[in-house]
Amino acid sequence: VEDAHYAQQQLVCASCGCVLAEGLLTTTYTEEEQLREVTYSHSTGQREQQSRCLQRGIRRVQDLCKVLQLPGSFEETAVSYFQRAFQHPSFHLVSLEKKELLGGCCVFVTCRQHNWPLTMGTICSLLYAKQEHFANVFLSLQKELELSVPALSLAELVKTQLSSFQLFQPEAAIPAQFVEDKEMMVTRTMQLVELASQTWLVTGRHPVPIVTAAAFLAWQSLQPSTRLTCTLGQFCKLGGTPLPPPAHLRLKELLEILLRMAAQLAWLRVFHLDKKSVVKHIGDLLQHRIFQKKENEKEKKKEKEKEKEKEKEKEKEKEKEKEKEKEKEECGEGSLEGQGKRKSKQSRLRPLLPPCLINPRKRPRAAAPSAADSGVSGEEPISDTELEQYLRDPEEIRAL
């Protein structure tokens, strides 16, 4: 009977099983008639059961959720995102390193969607990954799966960051006067972070250094007499948290904002405050800020109503002007005065610009002459003399 052992045809005796004759071993894919090789990705095997890679990935996602102590519902969501992404053509055939990052991205997206303050720095350190690689995978995951990822919640981040500080319980390494009440510190830090976000210090910047700087100022202001001598670096060391490099700059910017606020208050102008002494009055400034905010909102509403009224009056006058040719522009003058007042109020309400506009580093760009001005159409003839500057002389070539 004819039989086959792998790719080799054989004639085998049916009674004793001896090989009577052997065929040639096939050497090319086209010669093989039996037992053609089928790759795993073309077989039905991968649809019938989960691949080891997917199982490993799911386990990694679950481990990450356990390490971060996330609720159970987060784990389910993250795993479902991972399964969806794994089946997507953009992520199916990528490297194992990228698949690991994909798992981290799914956890990150889940946390963001539930307002859980997980930063990219934290997840990158857990995955031992570079932030740029993580960023690429995160952005492509967001795009391919069409996920809506809300912004990082600063309020939650403040609470999480402060809970990692070790300044709320008396310990041997921490002097008694440096220990602080957690609730008070959280409240004051939140107020300072809110102030920073309203004064252009948060937009476009990493959030963690701002929170560190705000926490330091809040801590100092709660007992300034004993804490003013402590620096930001010492504070982070005492608290047992790393000091992010931009925190010094954020601290400087926050103090400048506070000094500007103090300059607007008559009873503080007398003190001629500087960056050290303004810390003692942070509590008053923040309270006044809340009061000022409410006042500003009331003023804005009043101004809007006034503007609406004036617009209505102007419309009525325009109608009158159409009927009568000569009329005094009394209301126009009044509105001009009103505009002047509004401008001065707006200048008081809006004295703040983003720091990079106040201290511009870049030179302003000079406008290049437009095509019409320079008279270039793209089709002008090019003379030989113009081209000679781009070609070497024969002597130069010989020298080379």
Partner: protein, 183 residues
């Protein structure tokens, strides 16, 4: 300030990238020897040639494909590309200037107001993407124009698109959205 009133915005074109083909094989070693203002990158197999007027940098491959960058208008890019092709002709190659195409235009525009990026992102999902941990600007993509805008809180906007018209249309399209989220 009314978004509908005519506002003259200066769109400054900072870079135009174009490509063309010479339809002949180019000996990079010869170009490096006989051409002036030339850098030969042997490891990657290309030659960089810089023209002074217009201020353009050309990347030349031996296959005859050339990429020109640094021009400040489409016309200037074409003029520079033709100048380069003529220089290669002078060096002795049978160059035919074909398949010229402007591939990318980079422009900068300044809005006369600051922009609240978190508010802008919230109002313009899913086109807008804002990750302050990664980049300080909002990335806004307009699929129909194949244009990408980077919107900064200072009001500065960087636009990249396939041509100058697309860039101008992109700025026109984004203005009302950005105006809504102004400070």
């Amino acid at each position: 300030m009314d978004a509908d009133s005519d506002v003259a915005l200066d769109i400054l074109i900072t870079n135009v990238v174009c490509v063309f083909k010479t339809r002949c094989h180019l000996n990079l070693r010869k170009i490096a020897l006989e051409g002036a203002n030339v850098i030969y990158k042997r490891d990657v197999g290309k030659v960089l040639m810089k023209l002074r007027k217009p201020r353009i940098t050309a990347t030349i491959w031996s296959s005859g494909k050339v990429i020109c960058t640094g021009a400040t208008s489409e016309e200037e890019a074409k003029f520079g590309a033709r100048r380069l092709a003529r220089s290669l002709q002078k060096l002795g190659f049978q160059v035919i200037f074909t398949d010229f195409k402007v591939v990318n235009v980079l422009a900068v525009c300044n809005m006369p107001f600051e922009i609240r990026l978190p508010e802008f992102t919230k109002n313009n999902r899913p086109h807008a993407s804002y990750e302050p941990e990664l980049h300080p600007a909002v990335c806004y993509r307009i699929k129909t124009l194949r244009a990408t805008l980077q919107i900064f809180s200072t009001g500065s906007i960087t636009v990249t698109g396939p041509n100058v018209k697309a860039v101008a249309s992109a700025v026109e399209q984004i203005y009302p959205f950005v105006f809504e989220s102004r400070k």
